[in-house]
Symmetry: C3
Subunit: 264 residues, 3 copies
Amino acid sequence: MNAPENGLVNALERPANGFTRLIDIVFPGDANHHGTLFGGIGLAHMDKVAFLVASRYAHVDFVTASCERIDFHVPAHVGEIVELTGKVVRVGRRSLSVEVDLVAEAPLSGERRLSTRGVFNMVAADPLERYGGALPPLLDEPETPVSESASCEIVFPDQTSHYGSLYGGHVLAAMGKSAFVAATRHCRKIVVMAASQRVDFMDQVLAGEMIELQPSIVATGRTSMTVEVTMVAEALLSENRRLCGKGTFVMVAVDENHRPVPIA
Amino acid sequence: MNAPENGLVNALERPANGFTRLIDIVFPGDANHHGTLFGGIGLAHMDKVAFLVASRYAHVDFVTASCERIDFHVPAHVGEIVELTGKVVRVGRRSLSVEVDLVAEAPLSGERRLSTRGVFNMVAADPLERYGGALPPLLDEPETPVSESASCEIVFPDQTSHYGSLYGGHVLAAMGKSAFVAATRHCRKIVVMAASQRVDFMDQVLAGEMIELQPSIVATGRTSMTVEVTMVAEALLSENRRLCGKGTFVMVAVDENHRPVPIA
Amino acid sequence: MNAPENGLVNALERPANGFTRLIDIVFPGDANHHGTLFGGIGLAHMDKVAFLVASRYAHVDFVTASCERIDFHVPAHVGEIVELTGKVVRVGRRSLSVEVDLVAEAPLSGERRLSTRGVFNMVAADPLERYGGALPPLLDEPETPVSESASCEIVFPDQTSHYGSLYGGHVLAAMGKSAFVAATRHCRKIVVMAASQRVDFMDQVLAGEMIELQPSIVATGRTSMTVEVTMVAEALLSENRRLCGKGTFVMVAVDENHRPVPIA
């Protein structure tokens, strides 16, 4: 593990047993026209988390071999926050199982409901030479504290330039979403971005790397919240984590007519 | 042609004259804010089908040279099923013409309307050495029966990992959509996924391959339908087809308040 | 600069100081569920324009180093046209600054509001040998006239086939959007595509190239407008521009029930 830099202890520590959280918002394009998340899209999100968890547990390439029965208890609605968390629950010689929860969170009330839970069986596609031919056993590690609004995302090849590095625009969109979630959770009102303050890009992010966005509310006014978002990149096949970007965003609580309202 | 395996005759047979069907749902992101499919998006879908038809007719790379006049008779609306079918209608020495129909289907009434029809002229970008320098002539083959809810899709590079194979999550999303269409057509009610039963991934799918999803209703209850979906991958530049995945999904008919209702 | 061909003076001339315009429509998937564009998505659009402006100013690879404070004055709504324009405003030895405006335009009234403006600092990632080690100084060039509805777009790797060239379907979708914007601006009514007339693809477009769509209204009827759209591709690392496609589209003004209405 790298030494933490800049006091970003959480941002640069790796959680135990591959624990990974991904936070997103249900967009209309992911929902049927009655406004609930398509089951298949939910499954796709869950599989992505399972892939990240497996890759962070053992730094080899994994493929999904199967997923067990998954029940959809309650639907997630358009505009809700969905929070997916996954962790390794079983380790075999060349395969492991990842349990993934999908929680739907109403943005204004904060009500959270377990929408679905599933187990994905992932198989190592590499020879595992670095681990002596078998995956390392599951440890009874204490859980590393992870900021509750930190969100991981894999960088797909289509988000990179033809030079292979993540476009700044994707980073800005991801930072904006992270600030949106943190501010919404802080005030439980409709929030919009009033300003993006200085954003710095320290290092390039490559396709196949994971990025982790960590928002924190650094100041509040009567109707506004200032959210600092750091972006750490993590090479999935190594232990390497590095700070790649930092931005500050001013989010304002508004009513349905887009007029500012007090945050508390 | 490969020998059918596992009794999947339809799933592993190639239809005559490149016949290809693609089924999708009109999402809000593909529509203007009055709720009808953008003409340009419809054209993009049609071109994708034309590319698949040409590639399946002759296993060489094709590019779209032109498309003839295309009239939009009636619009497709958000939430409707769109079914595109294409087949080769003319073959020249190095080019061929593909006729593509776009049918809009109301999910609850089942009413189908021919929204538009177009002809795309595709030119081979390869030397055609394997065919002696000219495309093979169009045969008066009998139409191969193809399941009416089977849907083909091309695997774009952005859907693959940086190892070049299709992410499991995309497969789950595609299988979920296939089960959704089959269940909707079975009961003509709003349907949601209640459970994903065991899903197995037998083989990797590579960028540039075509996948065909074939759903079939294997059991029904009072409010539920169990849909088995198989996924076959087809290498466009060869005759190679192979079973790559299979999943079972429980779909439930619901009313507008998300309460289960009888399917008949 | 290449000599203009086919009388397409505007289409084949490069504007001064990297001036670039990108026109898009606010889709539901880019907005919160209260119908206004997410700040982060707006920032992502702006960064893309900054990248294009920098690349067209000096033909080397650029990365975004930082962006200065950006204020969101008024929101853009779903269904509105967003027009982003950018130009180089400062040039250093290895870096330059691009100012980007984002204007929201109501499609029916034509009202335009400056939604936000930002400055992006871009750094050359290449050794700049072709420029003697430093970026060329900013000239006080007269502004090249650019058609007000011409729109540029970068071709991402995910829009290309596994042979590396842009899919015809993406071109058709982009041409359709261009015709939609031009026709909407002409009549300020709801418009739909009634027909796509012959579309020709003269040359392939490669990943990493920029395309510029230029629509022009070539005929009008009582309820219809015929829009010709040309597509020019521009290799960002060279001066090379070439005509790659041309299509003609019949757009019809309709009321909310999709019945044709007079355009004036």
